[in-house]
């Protein structure tokens, strides 16, 4: 019972809303974790501000009997940055690219109530290019993947995706298998 309850944190079929029958999720992509690391570091550093204030003003706070108030305000400060940290993590988590055996779905979450979803069917894929820009992207192996569609010069760009070369190969494999009728296998 407990084992099956916790299995939702281990295994997932990566199912999504609007998934068609017999549609298989081949890749679920998110931006590289490095992209969210900067904001998380800043928020985490801000969490240490009450400690610094406490160290500097400890004697002043204790002589006035304001220690309880200080602890409470510090806790509220921590709560607000805890919200900010998880807001960043939520935005990072909800920005996804789903590659299935039939289509590519790009879901962009710009804010809590600002969401954009674009869809591209595999038979409309024309060509794919990858762009790795700068030292960090090269070292950490992430970059942009641009998919050119058959429609009037429409492009789909997935930003800061880890291992873009592998993603390009998988998308090409899907596009080819769609034409040949051979099932796509991803390792």
């Amino acid at each position: 019972m407990i084992k099956s309850l916790f299995s939702i944190f281990r295994d997932s079929p990566n199912s999504f809303e609007g998934q068609e029958k017999d549609e298989e999720v081949i890749l679920l992509l998110r931006r590289h974790p490095f992209t969210v690391l900067l904001s998380l570091t800043l928020f985490s550093l801000a969490c240490f501000v009450p400690i610094v204030v406490g160290v500097v003003f400890w004697s002043y706070l204790s002589t006035h009997g304001w220690l309880n108030l200080y602890f409470f305000v510090s806790n509220v400060w921590l709560l607000s940055f805890w919200l900010a940290i998880f807001h960043s993590l939520t935005m990072y988590t909800l920005n996804t690219v789903i590659i299935t055996n039939r289509r590519i779905i790009d879901s962009d979450q710009h804010g809590f109530f600002n969401r954009q979803i674009a869809e591209l069917h595999s038979h409309r894929i024309q060509d794919i290019s990858i762009h790795t820009n700068g030292l960090i992207e090269t070292m950490l192996k992430f970059g942009d993947v641009t998919v050119q569609t058959a429609a009037s010069e429409k492009q789909f760009t997935f930003h800061q995706i880890p291992r873009p070369d592998r993603v390009k190969d998988v998308i090409m494999q899907i596009a080819r298998s769609r034409d040949s009728g051979v099932k796509t296998m991803v390792q």
């Binding site: 939702i8 944190f9 281990r10 295994d11 997932s12 990566n14 199912s15 999504f16 809303e17 679920l28 998110r30 006035h64 009997g65 304001w66 309880n68 108030l69 602890f71 409470f72 806790n75 509220v76 921590l78 709560l79 607000s80 805890w82 919200l83 998880f86 807001h87 993590l89 939520t90 988590t93 909800l94 996804t96 789903i98 879901s107 979450q109 809590f112 969401r115």
Partner: protein
């Protein structure tokens, strides 16, 4: 009850309401729109930590004597 104490209590209640309002929105988005295992892990960690931090905040709030802020 002093007016300062009333204002302080209303302020704290407001902060808690805002916190849990935003926390609900975050949890809703993670569980409703999240795909895969990662959003579920984040939602569980966030819910657990929020309950703990809120509990600590309530205990700390109960220890506060707001009258100490008023100069004697």
């Amino acid at each position: 009850m002093l007016p300062l104490e009333i204002i302080f209590n209303i302020l704290v209640a407001g902060i808690f309401l805002v916190y849990w309002g935003v926390a609900f929105i975050i949890l809703y988005h993670l569980t409703r729109f999240g795909i895969g295992v990662q959003p579920k892990k984040f939602a569980a960690a966030f819910l657990f930590s929020s309950v703990v931090f809120s509990g600590v905040a309530i205990i700390l709030f109960m220890n506060i004597d707001i009258n100490l802020l008023i100069p004697q």
